[in-house]
Amino acid sequence: MTRTELPYDIAIVGLGIAGVPQITHEAEETMRRCRHVFVADTGNGVAEYLRTLSPHVVDLASEKETGAHRIPIYRRFASHVVSAALAEPPVCFATYGHPTMFCYPTTLIQRSAVVLDLKVALVPGVSSLDTLLCDLGVDPGSDGLQMYEATDLLVRRRPLQNDVACVITQAPMVADALNRPAARDVDNLALLQAYLLKFYPADHEVVLATSSPHPLLEPLVQQVRLGSLAAGLVQSAQLTTLFIPPVARRAIADAQLAQRMRVAGAEPVQAAAGAGSAVPTRPGRPNIGPQQPAN
């Protein structure tokens, strides 16, 4: 297939969270095939790396005017991409993270494509949710997962289930319409804290997590009590995500169905009797087996 026969005019790819190592082969191959690549990712070395894949890379960072309203910024991003796609398709919009995870320019590009008869392809990337689950060792299979954008949570007064793990994205910039990466509005953060306290106790431990933006850095994970959330968020990075563990595990409501799901022959664990005298040991840690009574 030649470049002009590609099945899209605009490819939208996600670049992942941790810089170049998280760019997928699929995203790379897509960018190689496009005439122009527009990049919205301020990660160290990302734009430079993309220039090794494509001779025409436009870094959209200069459009992110500090203090400006976020919506015009996103419109400018989308305008550059769509305008180039009309002139010299195919083009690529390469964005931080995952292309449909809190990425409004992607929405604008898709909507304008409908009007302008442009074909769009979406290529997934490693999202902030993916890295968060790894950073915290969380598997949504256990207790489920609810996920909301912080401002959306407040303006819609969305109900929360406190027996389900909860991810609140963009918490540090809640209720702030402007592009102000370093600014934290204590009053806005207090609004978020007060709303969450309608569903969770003040002493509930929550987690502020910031995934590593570079392979040489560790993720930042900080526990705070919900009653001190606003104070914790004041100190946090712009990309910090709030994770709220469940307050309690929901009880099984359909015991018959649950029983049906058990593995065949599974019986409650009984204490082993006369299994031998050799107790398995672990250097520097308690032995494996029943705990010895304290003398």
Binding site: R75, A87, T107, R111, D117
Partner: protein
């Protein structure tokens, strides 16, 4: 980049009724957390009848330079969200 080539970008009524990349997101209410002036939803067949949209697309088609085309696309974006 080169000036806009003579391509048909599909103003009403020639625009396809089907989105080129069908997805839930394009039909969601046109607002972003209440920050953008919103319509109740995005129905392409209704949207392309809007005189502001028609003017934007005509301006896009007539733009002689990259900069003017990008400015015209921005006008369209203002109606999209």
């Amino acid at each position: 980049m080169t000036p806009t080539p003579p391509i048909d970008i599909g103003v009403s009524p020639s625009v396809s009724p089907d989105p080129p990349a069908p997805g839930v997101v394009v039909r969601m209410p046109i607002t972003f957390l209440g920050m953008a002036p919103g319509r109740p939803g995005f129905e392409p067949e209704e949207f392309i009848r809007d005189p502001a949209v028609v003017r934007s697309v005509q301006a896009i088609r007539a733009a002689p330079t990259d900069a003017e085309r990008t400015a015209a696309v921005y006008q369209l974006m203002e109606t999209l969200g």
